[in-house]
């Protein structure tokens, strides 16, 4: 078995948002309930159905297109279902399948639901082809039961089921005592002082700040609690060089030394970390530029432009940062494109915002701690907030020769 994550609680709610059209509601609901029972029979988990409102695990059926899911299904056959890992909770079934129960015809909803719930609870695919968590559907089995590998996997996550663990109070205490971050000695950084390692506009529009072994989120109204980097992205070290999320591929790349890690959400992609071969190690920063859908990597006074899905000729890189990003300092701490469409560069205690011509806007640099981290104002110079549109911006949207040269340079690279 492979473990992808776990819920930090053992009493979970679920909600069935809709049901397949060709199976009776009663049969379908019974199949889904039985799917939960397979797991709660062998691990100290409980599942309670809710009819409305939020639920930890949400099951639904959708077809080739869904406004709520970016993973399309492919019609009858092939891909039957997919699910998110903990603690996301989405479980989706292909509406176009012929979902059945109690027959060898079609696809058995109970078995597929149990498989997808395995993912939702934190199990990856098993290499035992007879295991429930095997990636390929092995067909209807009238006397279906979990494979020992499935049982071992779920018990590795949540322990064995025993009468003692049924005690609600004890479990709650257990959950509360599970530390959100490992207790290894590590200096907890102060978000209001010092230099950032990396900044990233991540999936779902969340802004992450990285410093030392810790990461926290930043919003317009405040900042979130500090988590160890490895508590969110398992297998990822602290003290990162750079981080960048690409909405184009959904990939998050983290850079440190001569290695690169790739994650989709919080799951590391197979085969990573890899060695950085064709760009220099010890990068300073990285960002995704939505205008040309490229990833930019920065080190010292140079940058590399990388297309994640096409061959990139790096022989012409690194190029000088100042040729493309006018007014930006060298030796950056961090960089990102933000939800306002602007590019931001961070160095030391200051940050720079660039206009659409990639030229530093009037009034920058400004103070990171005050404007991004919501720390008390310490100097009278830092007065505007993050994303604040000031009148001075208007004066910077003029095209300049240097900016136009830079745009041309990008266009030529795209053509390549």
């Amino acid at each position: 078995y492979l473990l992808l994550g776990r819920w930090r609680k053992k009493h979970l709610t679920f909600r069935i948002l809709n049901l397949p059209s060709r199976l009776s509601s009663r049969t379908a609901r019974a199949a889904v309930h039985q799917a939960f029972n397979y797991w709660s029979n062998v691990a100290p988990l409980t599942f309670r159905e809710v009819q409305a409102g939020w639920a930890d695990i949400r099951l639904s059926f959708h077809g080739r297109q869904s406004p709520y899911c970016s993973n399309k299904f492919d019609g009858p056959g092939r891909v039957l279902a997919h699910a998110d890992i903990p603690e996301l909770g989405s479980v989706h079934f292909d509406e176009d399948e012929f979902w059945t129960e109690g027959t060898y015809q079609g696809v058995n909803l109970r078995i597929i639901a149990a498989h997808e719930l395995g993912h939702a609870l934190g199990l990856g695919h098993s290499r035992y082809t007879q295991a429930l968590m095997a990636p390929v559907y092995a067909g209807y089995r009238p006397y279906f039961e979990l494979h020992p590998d499935d049982v071992a996997g779920i018990q590795a996550l949540y322990g064995k089921k025993s009468p003692e663990t049924k005690d609600e109070e004890k479990e709650e205490t257990e959950v509360l005592t599970v530390p959100l971050v490992p207790t290894e000695p590590s200096p907890m950084p102060n978000p209001c002082s010092g230099e950032l390692d990396a900044m990233m506009l991540g999936p779902h529009g969340k802004t992450y700040a990285f410093k030392g072994d810790y990461v926290w989120t930043v919003t317009n109204s405040g900042r979130g609690p500090l988590f160890r980097v490895s508590a969110l992205w398992e297998g990822l070290p602290g003290n990162l060089d750079a981080a960048v999320y690409s909405p184009r591929t959904q990939w998050i790349h983290f850079f440190k030394g001569d290695k690169v890690w790739r994650y989709i959400n919080f799951k590391m992609s197979p085969g990573f970390p890899k060695k950085l071969n064709r760009v220099e190690p010890n990068l300073d920063a990285a960002l995704y530029w939505p205008l040309n859908q490229k990833v930019f990597l920065f080190k010292g006074s140079g940058y590399w432009q990388w297309d994640e899905l096409a061959r990139t000729d790096f022989s012409r890189y690194p190029k000088p940062i100042k040729e493309l990003f006018t007014g930006v300092p060298d030796q950056l701490s961090a960089a990102m494109s933000w939800q306002d469409g602007r590019v931001y560069f961070f160095k030391g205690k200051e940050y720079w915002r660039l206009n659409w011509q990639l030229r530093v806007e009037k009034g920058y640099p400004q103070n990171i701690a005050h404007n991004w981290m919501h720390c008390p104002l310490q100097t009278p110079a830092t007065i505007s907030s993050v994303g604040d549109e000031t009148a001075s911006v208007t004066g910077t949207i003029l095209s300049t020769p240097s900016a136009m040269d830079s745009i041309m340079d990008i266009t030529l690279s795209d053509t390549d």
Binding site: R78, V136, Y137, P270, D307, L309, A310
Partner: protein
Amino acid sequence: RALGPAEKKAAVDYLLQYGYLQKSLEGQDDFRPEDIMEALRVFQEASELPVSGQLDDATRAHMKQPRCGLEDPFNQKTLK
């Protein structure tokens, strides 16, 4: 019989979709034949098929079976 380009592409797409082949950071368009053979070997071993590294009938048939949409974690390291 010799496989057509569409069949080969479908196999590479499958290996890519389910994590047996990874796009390199350098963004190379084409996978080397040895990379595809290695991915096929891993897929065959994980699927309990004869391990040949070739896109044989059994392998192509297995790729057409209904399955879960999540990636597989298998590579030589995890299999070992």
